[in-house]
């Protein structure tokens, strides 16, 4: 595209922006759906762009359709580990001498393999050999570390004005995001493509310890974290939704860099990624840069389909942790996956039952009977790709027995199954859903995340804007029917913290 055309395009866009600021008729969010643009590269990568030129900033969201569910048994948490590795730089950034560093990392890997092999002999291990292998490993680790330009990736992003640099790994997906001033567009294209084309998984064995600290913080040293992990693992006996994305401690300790590399090579790929860009970016420029940079991401085979379908739960399951902390309760009921036709009705059910102060659970358990300090319900755990859990949470007030609270929760849930919901409640839910949807479009980062989620989970970003139609079509009869199907004793998994006497 010629310079002149580019200038003309920008001038036109600026003029449009100017007009928009001039106080015209109220904004209509429905037009946003028409403003989202798609760029599809030859390698299958889809880039979604929503132009917003008020302020010279943009946010992006990279959604990789690979998460905890795609891990092998014995290597839980490796998807999350790769997410950490994606901040460690590439061949071109983060190294003081890439040739030497790669050699050192190879040698380190062999030393680790030898060390692990000896360790796995358990009592039969030769302690002298073990000590010598350990020393050798540490020496090689130190050598590799000396060739690292620590945190070069993060430092570069921050120096160029990047804010909100972060990422997250869930059962379903790995997501990367931050925001930059819009004059940094090409730098972002380089950084974001490079990290998925040429990652160097440096400082791997150190980072294992960081992950262990993260596990300590989120799961092991927090009462609700402990309960949550045990509970979700009990709700799923076959499907990998029952495995925590942070990984089991013993798996983490045995990871090798090769495991993470293999995982990345097998699962990451342009065909299984979508990138959304929202902000002061013009299509023509983005398209040209995208072809140059993101076009190099290998298409990838993508993850294998998950074979196991969670078998139907035939009886109530319970996890009761007795400890000195205050009582807490998770109750999960199996529901179909996000794209199932019943999910809009289930969303209505969850909201009427447990969203907000006027919801059934809050009104009865918190306000009227004062059994619960808080109670709520939501659908969306653990994820959206596979059948999930409609989750109810309740915390008893001081001196309330958790059994009484549990019974009261079931009474409210089952009341919807027997009596249904009122038209007023359903209408209120639909209005609420619409308002929340509109408010969710606020902010570049939010918008980018939503577009990616819709593209990868619903199958098409346009479905994001059609969800409200599906919600509008839900009837009270639908809600009552799904309540009857879901709220059965045999369908529930209960996780409780019970306070030990004398605490």
């Amino acid at each position: 595209m010629s310079l002149r055309t580019g200038l003309a395009l920008r001038a036109a866009a600026a003029l449009l922006a100017l007009l928009a600021l001039g106080g015209q008729a109220s904004a209509s969010y429905e037009e946003l759906a028409n403003e989202v643009q798609e760029i599809v590269l030859d390698n299958g990568l889809k880039i979604l762009l929503l132009e917003r030129h008020d302020v010279p900033v943009f946010s992006f969201w990279t959604y990789v359709g690979v998460g905890g569910v795609d891990e092998d048994n014995g290597r839980s948490g490796i998807a999350h580990m790769f997410e950490h590795m994606a901040f460690k730089g590439t061949r071109e950034i983060g190294s003081l001498d890439i040739k030497r560093e790669l050699k050192a990392l190879e040698a380190l890997e062999e030393a680790y393999a030898a060390l692990q092999a000896e360790k796995l002999k358990g009592d039969a291990a030769d302690s002298a050999r073990l000590a010598s292998l350990q020393a050798h490993f540490e020496a090689l680790e130190a050598e590799a570390a000396s060739l690292v330009d620590t945190n070069a990736f993060g430092k570069l992003v921050e120096a160029h004005g990047g804010v909100g640099l972060n990422a997250m790994t869930s059962w379903d997906a790995t997501q990367y995001f931050y925001s930059l001033p819009s004059n940094k567009l090409e730098l972002w294209c380089l950084l974001e493509s490079d990290r998925f084309i040429n990652p160097v998984l440096r400082e791997f064995y150190k980072e294992k310890n960081v992950i262990l600290e993260e596990r300590n913080m989120r799961t092991e040293s927090q009462p609700q974290g402990r309960l949550f992990e045990q509970w979700v693992c009990t709700a799923y006996i076959g499907h990998p939704y029952g495995r925590p994305p942070i990984g089991y401690r013993s798996d983490i300790e045995l990871w090798s860099r090769r495991d993470a590399e293999d995982f990345y090579k097998r699962n990451y790929g342009a065909r299984n990624m979508v990138i959304a860009v929202v902000g002061d970016v013009y299509r023509a420029e983005l398209e040209s840069l995208a072809k140059k940079y993101f076009g190099q991401i290998p298409p990838g085979p993508g993850p294998q389909a998950i074979r196991t379908v969670e078998p139907q739960q035939l009886g109530e399951r319970r996890v009761v942790i007795e400890e000195a902390t205050q009582p807490f309760m998770f109750i999960g009921y199996h529901v179909p996956a996000r794209r199932h036709a019943d999910r809009p009705a289930i969303g209505a059910l969850a909201s009427i039952l447990g969203e907000g102060r006027s919801s059934r659970l809050y009104s009865r358990l918190v306000k009227a009977d004062q059994l619960a300090l808080w109670s709520g319900a939501f659908d969306g755990l653990p994820g959206d790709r596979y059948p999930a859990l409609l989750t109810l949470i309740a915390l008893p007030n001081k001196d309330v027995k958790v059994e009484d609270l549990e019974a009261a929760v079931y009474a409210e849930a089952e009341r919807i199954a027997t009596e249904g919901v009122t038209e007023s409640e359903l209408a209120g839910y639909k209005t609420r859903a619409r308002a929340q949807f509109i408010q969710g479009l606020d902010g570049n980062e939010n918008m980018a995340g939503q577009l990616c989620w819709a593209q990868m989970i619903l199958g098409d970003w346009r479905e994001l804007f059609k969800q409200l139609d599906a919600i509008a079509a839900v009837t009270a009869a639908d809600v009552q029917r799904v309540a009857g199907e879901i709220f059965r004793k045999s369908n529930r998994t209960v996780g409780l913290i019970q306070t030990t006497a004398g605490s």
Partner: protein
Amino acid sequence: MTTTIKRTLTGARPLLLALFAVALLPGAGAAAKGRYDKVIGGLPALRDFQVPAVVREELPNGMVLYLVEDHDLPTVRLSAMIRAGRIYEPGAKTGLADLVGEVMRTGGTERYPGDKLDELLENMGASVETGMDEASASASLRCLTENFDEVLAIFVDVLRHPAFPQEKLDLALTQAKSGISRRNDDASGIANREIQKLYYGATSPYARQPEYDTLAAIAQPDLVEFHKYFYHPNNLILIAGGDFETAAMKAKLAAAFGDWPRAETFFPPDPLLSETPMSVNYIEKADVNQSKIRMGHLGIRWDDEYLFPLSVLNEILGGGFSSRLFTEVRSKRELAYGVWAWMITGNHHRMPFTVGVDTKSESTVEAIQLIMKELERVRVEPVTVEELRRAKEGLKNSFVFNFSNPFSIASRKASYEFWGRPADFLDTYLAKVDAVTAADILAAAQARIHPDEMAILVVGKAEDFDAPLSSLGFGEASVIDIAIPEPKFELALPAETPENLAAGRALMDKAVAAHGGARALAAVKSLRMAGDFAIKESGMGPLTFGVVQQRLGDDRLRLETTTPFGNMLQVLTPEVGWMKSPRGKQKIEGDDLAQMWRSERSDVLYLLRHLDDYRALPMASESCAGQECAVVYLKGAGDEGYKLCLGPEGRIHAMEYKDQGQSGPVINFTVLSEYQATGGVQLPRKFVISQDGKEFATMTVKEMAVNPTLAAALFEEPAD
């Protein structure tokens, strides 16, 4: 290539960042050549852009408005900042301000009661919320444009006329008590709460926590009073942003708030602050494998002379991937997932400089020592050229994000006005950051960062630590006991159902009969009583005072006490009281007077004559001080209540209630005996009094006269 928008329609001014856009940034790293350097070298400067116009308006009653239009979405947001806060609640009622913030919304108003409000708002997908902070309170509104008028009416009513209904206060108190019972479950929560007490002092309004007893002292009138005292238009700044026309919104807000009368509020002086002394502190948490470490001391407010060098130092020392702590503690030594250091800029008062790290128990001392080393380093070594340049570039390049959202731009301006910051603070920000040198940072660190005068707190499991905390070199760690103080007086009362109230009243009617009957009790117009008050164990051994008490009606009291150290006289009327002692004469007013009258109500004669002021609730029978008793609880306003044990003859055999002791609230348990009939009324002659379960004193009545003639002068202000 830049696009500069010079023409404006709304009066917005273009923001010239070009001056500070940096074309030449350091390259990608020492060894990276090629692509990164090339791309970075070719990046354009940031283009100019318009900042949305924010309009400020002041209503005649002193309310200040900040308005900004934003037509991207059909939504409207309002946010109010009110001059109120936790620091204005009395210490004995810690928790009051938060209850106001909570119940203002949950209780709704007369026109919009709480539960109706919940339904109404949630069915519109709208929200109105209220809150409380240390030195400010908040109220907010969010809705779709189409609902604005309706939601505005709600917002105005909640701000101006909250009802604070008793049932919603009770709910909030129940929730607050549950919150207290849970506050030691999570190690992070403990660490973040307790470190504030170390920074500010445990009783400081900036750090203190509600307890069961402080909550018990709060009554509904306190909330009404708090709101009435602080919530005035001249104490309030309102921000409005969203899908509206400025002129129309101005008119709506003026119509909604214009007739709200202004009122002057006396704000007491702010709590005094003193520097944090050096201390190492430990809190045991047995169910963790990770220590939560928090350390630091009081820091700065926005008007500190070192603000800008410290802002740059924040980036270098403890913010984000670039920081020294992230690099040293996390990346290089993998001791933590979470580590940070931050000099918070206080708006109202000096906020802390705080360092935090969560590390496995076995690396607790190592992590602390590493951090101490880094804190000492910034005081001794200037930061490197590279660090300085990168930190400044980061701050300057990310500056544009201050303008990414019209509402936040208006909010920030309002906040500057609220806290007294100059309105042009942000205008000079970039230049001031740019001017910071390594020498400036060194001077700032030496002035404001003191690793030898700070509080270190570790919440964790000491038996797993790599070394004892004493090895840090500051002596033995102080062990902080965070056991939640039990409420001194909390009974599980039966519900106030009509049946229960009737049964309770029936029991009290029997007691009235056993004491002589309602008519005889009502016929007592005055009383004179003399006797001995023998304290079992005072600070000076057993002591006995002579006591003469005279009462006229229920609202005049005269108490003469004869002690070995001098005589004391107390005269009480409902409006004022006096106390005369060898040290002189003192007036008794306000809360003190109210407390003394309350003590007087814990009297057999008074209670039996004023049963209509209380709700009587029956409780399980008890064996009480040697007698099988029926038990009734007389519940008054707030936390006033009396547990009465009625003996076999129906008379009051014992009483238990919350009282004011020498050093705070105590549970008073009094056994009443040696009943005699005087003037048709059965009254006890012996009172054995215990406080908090320990026998305290015995009152023995030697003379009792019912309906003596008492001169009015006895109940006037005593002579000097």
